[in-house]
C-alpha cells in the first residue's frame, strides 16, 4: 500500500478553508462563525483522541478492550437517540428502547459480518470490528431515532383514532398498526435512498477513503457493497425492533393507550 501520509502542513491548508469561511460569515453577519470554529476544533480533537484510542486498541488486541470500546459507543448512540426524540418515554425506557434495539441489531450484524463474511482472526480484531460497528451503529441510530420519533408523535396526534379502535374491541396491535408501519417506513427511507444514489450521485465516504488510501477501486467497491448491506440490515432490523418495542410500551396490560408514558413535547 502506498499511503501518502498527510503532514501537519497539509491539514493546516485545509483548515484555512474553515478560517476563510468563518471570516466570510463574520463579514456577512451570518453569526455562525463561532459555531463553525468550535465544531471544527471539536471534530479535530475528537478524531485525534479516537485515533489514539484506536492505536492503543490495535496494539493491545484483547476482547475486553474491544468490548469496552463497543459498550461506550452504544451508550453514546443510545443517548443520542433519546435526545433526538421530541416526545420520549419517561424513565429508563427513554434510553432503553433505542439502546437495546441498537444492541440487538448492530451487534448481531457486526459479529455475523466478522465471523462469516470477513473471517478475521481473532474474530474481534479491532481494526475491523470497531470501524464496522461504528458505521453500522451510526446508521442504525439514525433509523431508530427517526422511527421512534414518528411513532410517538403519530400516536399522540392520532390518539382519538387509536382509542376509537380500542373501543371497538380491536387489539392494541391492530389499533396502532398504521402508525407502526409508517414509523418503520420512515426509519428505512434514508438507507434506501443512500443505496439507490450510491455511485451515481454520491461516492460513499468509506469507499472514497479507501481509494484515497491506495486500495484498488474494485476492492474498495466490494467493501462498500458489503458495508451498505450490513448497514441496511442493521438499520432495518433495529428500526423494526425499536418501533415494535415502543408500540408495545405505549399500551398497558389492559391495552389502554398510555400517552402519559411519554414526556411532554420539547419546544
Amino acid at each position: 500500500m502506498n499511503v501518502i501520509a498527510l503532514s501537519p502542513f497539509d491539514l493546516a491548508v485545509a483548515a484555512l478553508l474553515i478560517l476563510a469561511l468563518a471570516g466570510l460569515s463574520r463579514r456577512l453577519q451570518l453569526g455562525v462563525e463561532r459555531q463553525l470554529l468550535a465544531s471544527a476544533a471539536r471534530s479535530t480533537i475528537q478524531l485525534f483522541l479516537i485515533g489514539l484510542v484506536l492505536k492503543v486498541l490495535f496494539d493491545n488486541v484483547h476482547l475486553v478492550w474491544v468490548a469496552l470500546m463497543a459498550t461506550v459507543m452504544i451508550v453514546v448512540a443510545g443517548r443520542e437517540v433519546m435526545v433526538r426524540q421530541k416526545r420520549r418515554f419517561v424513565g429508563w425506557w427513554g434510553f432503553g428502547v433505542g439502546t437495546v434495539s441498537m444492541f440487538v441489531s448492530s451487534f448481531t450484524v457486526t459479529v455475523m459480518a466478522l465471523l462469516v463474511v470477513i473471517g478475521t482472526s481473532p474474530w474481534y480484531a479491532p481494526q475491523y470490528a470497531i470501524p464496522l460497528l461504528g458505521m453500522i451503529l451510526g446508521n442504525t441510530m439514525n433509523g431508530i431515532s427517526l422511527g421512534l420519533d414518528r411513532l410517538t408523535q403519530d400516536a399522540a396526534q392520532k390518539r382519538s383514532i387509536i382509542e376509537s379502535r380500542l373501543a371497538l374491541g380491536q387489539s392494541w396491535q391492530q389499533a396502532i398498526s398504521d402508525s407502526r408501519h409508517e414509523a418503520i417506513r420512515v426509519g428505512l427511507i434514508p438507507i434506501i435512498n443512500a443505496m439507490s444514489a450510491a455511485g451515481i450521485v454520491s461516492l460513499p465516504g468509506m469507499m472514497t477513503g479507501q481509494i484515497l488510501a491506495g486500495i484498488p477501486p474494485v476492492e474498495a467497491v466490494k467493501y462498500q457493497i458489503l458495508v451498505m448491506f450490513l448497514i441496511a440490515g442493521g438499520t432495518g432490523f433495529g428500526t423494526v425492533v425499536a418501533v415494535s418495542f415502543a408500540a408495545r410500551r405505549l399500551f398497558d396490560e389492559r391495552q389502554r393507550l398510555r400517552l402519559d408514558r411519554l414526556s411532554s413535547p420539547k419546544t
Binding site: S160, I161, S164, L166, R254, R256
Partner: protein, 201 residues
C-alpha cells in the same frame, strides 16, 4: 341480557360511583361541562386507568381480556373517528340494511369516501359501526350531538328498538333535557364527582 354494575368506580376527580343499569334499561346522565361524564364512560370502557370494578352480570371487567370487554361494553364517543378512506373498510361485519334505512342513510353509503361525509352522517355511521358488533351495553356520549331534529329522532328510535330487541343496557350522556325526558327510565346528574338521581318530571 346483561346487567351493568359499577362498584366503587373512581377515575380522576369522578367517583366513587355505584350504579347498576338493568338489561333493557336506559339510564341518562347529564351535568356541566368538565363534570367528568366522558371520563366516567371512558373508565367503564376501561380506556383509562381507574380504581374500582365494573361488572357485566357475574363477569368483572378485569377478569376479561380488554378487547372482549370493550366489544360487550361498547363506548361510542362524541366525535366519530375513522382510520381508512372508505366508509365500508370500517365495517368488518357488513351492515344491517334495515338499520341503515332507519338512520336515513342510503344503502350505498358503505362505498362513500369519508372526506365526502358530513359530520352528522359520520356520527350516524359510527353508531352503526358499533351496533353491528352487537354489544350488550352501550355507553353513549352525546350520540345526537351533531344531528338535526329529524336525524336525532331516527337515532333515538333505532336505539330504542335495539334496547328492546336485544335487552341491551344503555348508559346515555346527554345535555338535551328534552331528549332525556323521551328516552330515560332513570336520570342522574353528575356533580362534584358524584351521581345524584333525579325524579322524573
Amino acid at each position: 341480557m346483561a346487567i351493568l354494575r359499577l362498584q366503587q368506580l373512581i377515575t380522576r376527580h369522578v367517583g366513587p360511583i355505584e350504579l347498576s343499569v338493568a338489561a333493557g334499561e336506559c339510564v341518562c346522565i347529564h351535568g356541566a361541562s368538565g363534570s367528568g361524564k366522558t371520563l366516567l364512560l371512558r373508565a367503564i370502557a376501561d380506556l383509562d386507568p381507574h380504581d374500582g370494578e365494573a361488572w357485566l352480570d357475574a363477569e368483572s371487567c378485569s377478569s376479561l381480556p380488554a378487547p372482549d370487554w370493550r366489544r360487550s361494553v361498547a363506548l361510542v364517543i362524541a366525535e366519530s373517528q375513522w382510520w381508512s378512506e372508505r366508509v365500508g373498510d370500517h365495517f368488518a361485519m357488513g351492515v344491517d340494511a334495515a338499520w341503515m334505512e332507519g338512520l336515513g342513510l342510503p344503502t350505498d353509503a358503505l362505498d362513500w369516501q369519508l372526506g365526502r361525509c358530513s359530520t352528522g352522517e359520520r356520527q350516524r355511521l359510527a353508531l352503526l359501526r358499533t351496533l353491528m358488533q352487537a354489544p350488550a351495553v352501550l355507553l353513549l356520549d352525546e350520540p345526537t350531538g351533531n344531528l338535526d331534529q329529524e336525524s336525532t329522532q331516527r337515532v333515538e328510535a333505532l336505539l330504542d328498538d335495539y334496547r328492546r330487541q336485544r335487552q341491551a343496557a344503555l348508559l346515555w350522556v346527554s345535555h338535551d333535557t328534552g331528549q332525556i325526558d323521551r328516552v330515560a327510565a332513570r336520570r342522574f346528574i353528575l356533580r362534584d364527582g358524584q351521581l345524584a338521581e333525579e325524579a322524573r318530571p
